[in-house]
Every structure is written in C-alpha cells, then in structure tokens.
Subunit: 345 residues, 2 copies
DNA sequence: GTTAGCACTCTTGTTTATTGAGTGCTAAAA
DNA sequence: TTTTAGCACTCAATAAACAAGAGTGCTAAC
C-alpha cells in the first residue's frame, strides 16, 4: 500500500497530466513532463507496478494509463497540494458575495452561481438546515374569511409562510394577543422544535391564556415536521462541454440525477457522516451507490458561530482539477460562513 | 399559396409521419399510409410541387422529404385538428392540479411539472404577472435592531417579503398603527401601483396621520418597481431522449437558452404581442431571433376572472405532436384558470 | 392526368489497409 | 541490482473501397 517516492512522483504526474488533457498518458509524456533523467522504459516499469497495485489502468492493452478511483483517491489524500488562490480570484469571490444580500436563501443562490462561474463546473449550495435555525419572529396575517397566514422569520432572514384555515374561529380582536403569545412562546426556539416548544409552554399557562393556547396549537400542528432544505444548483450545462460527457447517455444520467434532489443532497453531505464535518471529496460516486461512475464532488461545510449548518460544493467529471477546486470551495465556504454569521445575529 | 385538396392531404401525411418517425418520408411510405389508389410516382410529383412551394425540403437529393417551418406552419394553422383528450388524460390533469395547492406559485410549479410529465417535453409555467395582482394584506414584522420586514400578501396567496432598515426610527408602539395605515392605504391596490397609491393617499391625510405617512413612504420607496415573474421549467432533460438532440451541441444550445430566463419568457409570451392572448405555436423559433432552429413552443394564456394573467406551455423539438400537445396545454390552462380564479377571490 | 420503368444519387454499413502511439519483454549496460 | 535500448506486438483511429438500399426525377406509355 505504501508507494515509493518515485512511484508517488509518477502517479502524481499521470493524474495531473490526465486531468489537464483528458487523454490516456504514456511513458514518453511523463518523461518529458518530469524532466528527470529517466528513460521511458523505466517509467513504464513503474507504471506497470502502479497498475498492478490498482492505481492506474489501461483503457486497452497498449494505450496510455488512466487513473482509477483509487489512483485519484491517493492523489487527493496524499499527493496534491491545495492550490493558493490568486488575489484576483479571492477578490472576485468576495465581490460577488457582497454584504448586500440580506437573507440566507439569497446568499446560497448567489453562492451556487458564483461557484459555477468561477470553476466552470456545476455549483451546489444547500440552505442552512432547519435544525440550526431559530425563530426570530412570528406574525399572523389575517386574510379574511377565517383564513390566516402564519409567518415565521428565522435568524437567517428567511421567511416561511403557511396558509391555514383553523377550525376554531378567531375574532379580529384576538389576532394581536395571539401574535404576542406566539412570539413569546417561540422566539429563540429552534425551527425544528416548534411543536415541542408550544406544547411545553402550554403546561405553564394560566387560565387567562389557555384560550390563546388552543388556537396556537391548532395553527402550529399544521406545520410540516421537517422540511428538506433548499438546494441551489447552477452551471450544470457547462458539463456538456467536457469530453467525458460527449456521449449523450452520460450527460442524460447526470441530468436525471440532478432532478432527484434528495440523492443530490445525500451526495453533498457525504462529508458529515461521522465526526466533525470537513471538506470532502467523493470520487466517481464512491460508496454512494448513485451510479454515477464519471462524476466527482468536492464539498465543504459552512458555519455560523463555528457551528456547521450546511454544505456547498462543486460537481464535475472525475477528472476534475481537485487541487484548485478544493481551494475555491473552501475559500468560498469561509466567506459564506462570515456572511451568514453576521446575518444571523 | 392555396393548396389543392390532394396537396393538403399529402402535406398532412408527410408532416404527421415525420412527427412520429423522425425519418425523412418517401413517396412509398405515403402511399401505404394513405391507402388511396395512388402510385408512388404521382405522390412524388405532388411532393415535388410542395417542395417548390416551400412546404417541404429534402435533406439531400434523393432522400425522403421533411417539412420546412412553412410546412409545419400550414399544418398547424389549417390541417391539424386539435385532438380530444381521453378521459384518463383529463382525470390525470385534474388530479395533479388539485385544490389543495394554496398559493399561485405552488400551482404554477405543479403545472410545469405536470406538463413535463404528461407531454414528455419541457413544461413551462409563468406565475401571474404583478400587473394583475392586488394587495390583500400588509404586515410589518419587527426584527429588532430597527430592522423591519414588510410583508405583502397578494390575492394569489403569494407572499413578498422585503427587509428594510428605515432611516427614520420607529418605536415598537408605532408598529401597530403603521400596519393599519398601510393596510388601509394599500388593500386592493394593484401590486404594480403601490408607489402611486401611497403617494395619492398622503395627499388626503390629516396631520395626525402624517407622521405615519412619512414612514410608509420610506418603506415603500425601497420596493423594486417591477419584478420579473417567477418562471418554472421542468422536464427539460427529457429532450435529450429525442433523436434531433442526439448531437451534443444542439442540446447545449437549448440548455444555455434555458439559463436565460428573460429570453425564455419572451418566447413563451409570443402569443400576446397584439390582440387578445390566445394559444400560440412558435415553430422553429420563428420571428424570435433566438437562434433555436430546432425547437418549437406551444403556449396558452390562463385567466383569472376572464382576464389573462400569465402563460403556460411546452417546449420541444420542431417535430412535436402539435395536435396532441395543443390539446393538453389548452386543457391545462383551463384548469389553472379555474384554480387561480377560486384562489384569488 | 396517371403510372410503370429505369437510370441516377446519396446515405449507411462493412470490409480492408495503413498509420501511429504505446506497451511488454529481453538482453545488454551501468 | 537497477536502468535502458531495442524490438516485436497490440490496438484504436482513420481512410479508402465497396455493396446495399432507399428514394428520386424523368420519360414514355397508358
């Protein structure tokens, strides 16, 4: 499993060359590229060893070598160095993710857009999870005809609205006290715990409030328990430019996959299975059973007050410039964290 | 320009056959298809005439004929009969567009989804235009720290929220009167005329209210003047199945086009340029300069209280089953109209 | 006006060579 | 023991040649 220094050098060169050219790479190319005093024959021997160990493969006898999933994995884990971004790139990211955005959904949409543009791959961004959101304010909007809208603003500036026609009838004059009651009961509560918060609040009530409580319960009970977070995906059409997707069936698979939000989300979250979330690279759909042999994903968590609340990332062909994209995604995640932390206080 | 009965018959047969097979159609095929006592040679003569007149063309000498844009146009305008939907199809549409949906955006998203599924083409739906929307209710949500959200509910159950930090400071106790003032001033006003409504309202004010008016103006003035309506697009990936898009470049063009919402909207609205809106077929990107030679669009307006307020449609290859899709789109538009009319009162 | 017959055209698919990049292996050199 | 030069071999990709087939246009006969 341990690779010698020379093997590492050559594996690195093969992966790197293949990433830039998309062509199987032969021994002569490597010799020229490395500029060491080695002959093609020597390199061939090493490559044969690497193939035997499962890091490279040949698309057919007597073609150049191509990295396997394992080869990419070794490259990503041990060989590549995360590239430094240029000043221009940093500036661009900071500029596009300006402070002007004033709710988390806008931030995330803009993030996916930015990632797509900056990387020329598909950009993905997940809105902060409800488990990490807290109720900031509740409003009741009377729509006439015994219909109401319940509006819940969270600490990310997001607004959730729910139409309801409660079975109990509520007089106009009761709306204001009910609003106050709901605010008192729910402010600061996790968006995911609204049901419990209301229930526990009721236990402490004096009779005077009990009437309001009944209404509140009937309103809140119509709230769905858990909502899938918004998922923004942009720039997918850029993948069609790439040679690995010249085959229409490949690109069809990928787009069909994009249609299934939950599987996409699952892939994005591969990095938070156990332990603290961190930047994760999924190569060729490893371990996901998603059937996408040809795609890789780089995903980073973003945080609010040091607490990870969602993921952003890019999706592209297995042959993607990992070292550069990792840098872009991580840097962007940092900016998003800063932005949302400020927004959420 | 007038076609003889036989010419019409044959043009119809060519278009219809080409639509189903996607292969250039020859004289023999037509003879078999029509079952008249005509020989291939006769049909050939007629086809040659139709070609000369610009209704058909050959992809190369001695291939079968293929309809031109003009041929499709003649077919759509004079020859095809809008197909009756089966009971099953009607039921399906009614079922999927249930009364459960309680705001217009949900309805339109579901509509685009339904159209995509039912037609196997790309389904498009535009949310009711703001010009046709009326303010139903206004709320102010105080977010603390002199920040407020202005919430405007329209008669379609849609909610627009706006964050603002007014320069004048507003006390908590003033929020309720301000809310009442805004509701009084804006209820029933067209969403597009909010600015004017506030302005004219101020002219009639007693001093007592003038203080509120100043705040109201400062709030409303931050509202954007006109917003592009939501546009829902679904099922685009199904187009990749079709032989005309087997070429990766074609499909790339189409998806790039889908990225440009405004141009897509323009295409959808081709049917409301002058005169009352009606179902419209745009063939091969006719007159739109959108550069999409290979796509056609069928679009129908939907109405609220007999007033057209938006468009829905399907987008597919030029070779699309016009007679069936027209029926589906029109029928769906009818259901959407009924649904929204009920929703909006 | 219609049609049978025929020569002609052009696509599509198949076969056959040719080329070139790249390999594995062996034996000699370091 | 490690490296390398040399050589035979493999395989994809490209081009050329060929056959088959679908369809046409035209002419002359019905």
């Amino acid at each position: 499993m341990e690779l010698s220094e020379r093997e590492q050098l050559i594996l690195h060169a093969v992966v790197h060359t293949y990433i830039t050219t998309a062509e199987p790479v032969g021994s002569r190319t490597i010799v020229k590229r490395l500029g060491l005093g080695l002959s093609p024959a020597t390199v061939r021997n090493v490559m044969a060893d690497l193939e035997e160990a499962g890091y490279l493969e040949q698309v057919h006898t007597s073609s150049g070598r191509v990295p396997t999933n394992r080869g990419y994995r070794y490259y990503v884990d041990y060989l590549m160095r995360v590239q430094e971004l240029t000043i221009a790139e940093r500036n661009r990211i900071e500029r596009e993710l300006s402070e002007k955005l004033n709710d988390a959904d806008e931030v995330m949409r803009q993030t996916s857009h930015l990632l797509a543009l900056a990387t020329h791959h598909a950009g993905i961004a997940e809105s902060p999870r409800d488990t990490a959101a807290v109720v900031r304010n509740v409003e009741i909007m009377s729509l006439g005809g015994s219909r109401f809208a319940l509006l819940i603003a969270d600490n990310y500036g997001r607004l959730k609205s729910l139409l309801m026609s409660p079975s109990v009838s509520i007089a106009e004059t009761d709306v204001a006290p009910l609003r106050n009651f709901l605010n008192e009961a729910l402010r600061g509560v996790s968006v995911n715990n609204i049901h419990e918060a209301i229930a526990s609040r009721i236990a402490q009530l004096t009779d005077e409030y009990r009437r309001l409580a009944v209404w509140a319960v009937s309103m809140v009970s119509t709230l769905p328990r858990e909502k899938a977070p918004e998922l923004y995906l942009e720039g997918a059409e850029q993948l069609m430019e790439l040679p690995e997707f010249r085959d229409i069936n490949r690109i069809k698979e990928v787009f069909a996959f994009f249609g299934e939000r939950d599987r996409l989300l699952e892939l994005l979250r591969a990095g938070i299975q156990d332990g603290p979330p961190k930047t994760t690279v999924v190569i060729g759909g490893e371990n996901t059973g998603c059937g996408l042999e040809e795609v890789s994903v780089i995903a980073s968590p973003y945080c609010v007050d040091e607490e990870p609340v969602g993921m952003i990332g890019v999706l592209g062909p297995r042959r993607m410039p990992y070292s550069h994209l990792t840098a872009v995604v991580e840097y962007t995640a940092g900016i998003v964290s800063r932005l949302l932390t400020r927004l959420a206080r």
